[in-house]
């Protein structure tokens, strides 16, 4: 495994060079918290962070994404014809993304990139992106990644793992994309691989030791879906829920969207927007019937999807990477760890 040492004094210069070949995205602090956005030349990602408020999912899958445009002007030959909107799929790199958020893309991929269905926008975005993960030395008390199929130094889905080692970063090369990124930056000082890997391993263990909350998911698969669906605890779980979209919008693994046409005079666009299973319109049928008419049904859907249906369908663990955003920012403190325990421990 090749590890490159990046001295911090070479950081800004390397990034400067990267702008020639990549669009760079990184965490930036606005007001009181960090979020990802595209960096402008000369701007540095702010790596002094716990994690971003919103996950990185919008870099690949924007909250509102224009798909087609059309005209309703019948004097034009192309009226009522959907035309694809040109989008920029030039190479981009996300710097400072936590391993949990990168692993999340792999869970989402199970939905957007299947043998049967391919979502062109998501796939093109994803494939044009280099993920420069930022190992997490300071996990939060709400992080439970180590029991959610992930971890603070988890490498799955990463092209490069950046580890903060004081006056320098270690950049562990995981894929060819990662290697190309380093080349474009001109960072080439190879570290002694064994020593660097030992150091990284020590830091990984220290970070993992800081993660004290754990969830048990071992029994979810064997539970009877209908019994879980009808479990008596949902009323209690749902009571506080206000059915806002905070949990789903902050979640790196929530993928649901809604497609809308918007017209302005005679021209219009077709776009897709994030949707949320918490919303009353989410599964409202054209007939007016809604199979998930109450908030209890909606919150149950969220947890059943993440912790049961996904588990059964994809056989790749739960649809959650343990980032803890939904726990920290739920306005009424609904805690997925508690719900997971209830589900995993449920006996009829």
């Amino acid at each position: 495994m090749k590890v490159i040492t990046i001295h911090k004094e070479d950081w800004a210069g390397g990034l400067e060079r990267l702008y020639d070949s990549f669009r760079l995205f990184g965490p930036v602090k606005q007001d009181e918290f960090h979020n990802f956005r595209e960096l402008v030349k000369g701007e540095l990602p702010d790596l002094n962070l716990l994690n971003t408020r919103l996950s990185a999912k919008s870099i690949i899958y924007p909250q509102s994404e224009k798909m087609f445009e059309f005209t309703l002007d019948e004097n034009r030959d192309d009226h009522h014809i959907l035309k694809e909107i040109h989008k920029d799929y030039s190479p981009r790199a996300v710097i400072g993304i936590r391993p949990c958020d990168v692993r999340a893309f792999l869970l989402v991929k199970a939905n957007f990139d299947t043998p049967e269905y391919k979502d062109p926008y998501w796939i093109k975005s994803y494939e044009s992106t280099t993920f420069v993960g930022y190992a997490c030395n300071t996990p939060c008390s709400t992080c439970f990644c180590t029991t959610a199929g992930c971890g603070p130094f988890h490498e799955q889905g990463l092209d490069l793992l950046l580890v903060d080692a004081g006056d320098h970063y270690f950049a562990k090369i995981i894929t060819e994309k990662g290697e190309n990124f380093l080349t474009a930056a001109g960072w080439s000082s190879e570290a002694d691989s064994d020593t660097a890997c030992d150091k990284i391993e020590t830091m990984r263990q220290a970070a993992e030791a800081k993660i004290t909350t754990r969830i048990a998911t071992d029994k979810l698969k064997d539970k009877n879906t209908t019994e879980l669906f009808e479990a008596p605890f949902w009323e209690d779980v749902a009571f506080a829920c206000i059915n806002c979209g905070t949990c789903t919008y902050l979640c790196p693994t929530c993928w649901c969207f809604d497609i809308q046409d918007e017209t302005f005079g005679l021209s219009g666009i077709r776009m897709r927007n994030w949707d949320s299973c918490m919303y009353p319109l989410f599964t409202l049928h054209g007939s007016g019937h809604n199979p998930r008419d109450t908030k209890m049904q909606r919150i149950r859907q969220r947890f059943m999807h993440k912790l049961k249906y996904y588990v059964d369908k994809y056989e790749d663990g739960i649809q959650c990477v343990g980032c803890g955003r939904c726990i920290r920012h739920c306005p009424v403190n609904i805690d997925i760890r508690k719900v997971c325990d209830l589900m995993n421990g449920f006996e009829t």
Binding site: T138, C244, Q260, N333, I334
Partner: protein, 315 residues
């Protein structure tokens, strides 16, 4: 305020034992610092789950809408005013409720406190009027009055305006509070400055509707932003649609908002959502001498007409 908890439990237990209520709505201890979770208890045994401290900022009147049971509800000043509003608006009946009044000295602002520290806050302990904050490698004690939610710092109705039980002596109301300094500042801006101000204010909005859904006033069966036939408002994060949502929601709250601060507390993006509702609250006070939720005896200004209503705006 911590002393209230024994009293809350005692009253709740009694109400449940005597069959006076089917459930008590209150708070249980949260799983993260500075958060409690609204909950219900239905049996005397479960009463011990209830807690009370300065992290009970969510307005519990929101949980009463259209309920059919007999309910005991823990209510601080603002909750009680929203209960009044709910009764006036026929969302719950007075005789369904046993209101357990909590004289309140304000709730602490978790957004504000989190922003004071670079690293994670791991433990928060409240003793009297002090808030002790601990995290890895730091510890700090803050005066509660310095870290109150903005609306609590300006609150002039800390005591419940309506109650059947009371968990402690009434607290002294804050006097000589200038409630609208921030609103006046915006009022004095030029139209361009105002536009910029509101654009900036809303730039972080993700349309999650936490503000709307945490609000006891927002109980419409279908909110105007969710209407699809016709669809009034676009669903993307286009700034025009986002503005439309916030402005219209605020107008729907005119003469009804009690400035409980739930909207702002709930916002995951830290938007000062109250800046919309406060202007309307100020207008209602100045034009109609009206404060929402203070009495069951009067109709709110926007559903009554008086010949002497101000009409200066008609040119």
């Amino acid at each position: 305020m911590l002393a209230y908890i024994d009293k809350i439990k005692e009253i709740s237990r009694r109400l449940l034992q005597e069959g006076k209520v089917d459930m008590v709505i209150g708070f249980r201890k949260g799983t993260v610092p500075m958060m409690n979770e609204p909950c219900f208890v239905k049996t005397p045994e479960d009463v011990d789950n209830l807690v009370w401290d300065s992290n009970c900022g969510i307005n519990l009147a929101n949980y009463l809408t259209n309920r059919k049971e007999k309910i005991g509800i823990v209510a601080k000043g603002c909750d009680s005013r929203n209960i009044v509003t709910h009764i006036i608006e026929n969302k719950i009946k007075r005789d369904q409720l046993v209101i357990i009044g909590v004289p309140c000295k304000g709730m602490i602002d978790r957004h504000k406190i989190e922003a004071m520290f670079e690293t994670e806050i791991e433990n928060v302990i409240e003793v009297d009027d002090k808030i002790n904050i601990k995290g890895e490698g730091f510890e700090k004690t803050l005066d509660k009055k310095d870290v109150l939610q903005d609306n609590c710092a300006l609150c002039i109705h800390r005591n419940p305006v309506i109650h059947d039980e009371l968990v402690g002596d009434l607290v002294e109301e804050q006097k000589d509070v200038d409630r609208y300094e921030d609103v006046r500042k915006i009022e004095s801006m030029s139209p361009e400055e105002k536009w910029r101000y509101f654009d900036d204010l809303l730039s972080a909005c993700i349309r999650c509707y936490a503000c709307r859904n945490a609000c006891p006033l927002c109980y419409c069966p279908t909110c105007f932003v969710d209407e699809s036939r016709p669809q009034w408002v676009g669903k993307s994060i286009d700034p025009i649609d986002t503005r439309t949502f916030h402005f219209l929601r605020a107008y729907h709250c005119a003469g009804r908002c009690t400035d409980c601060g739930s909207c702002e507390r709930a916002c995951p993006m830290g938007i000062k959502v109250r800046m919309f509702t406060k202007k309307l609250e100020k207008d209602c006070l100045e034009l109609f001498d009206w404060e929402a939720g203070m009495t069951l005896e009067k109709r709110p200004p926007l559903d009554t007409y008086r010949p002497d209503d101000p009409d200066d705006f008609i040119k």
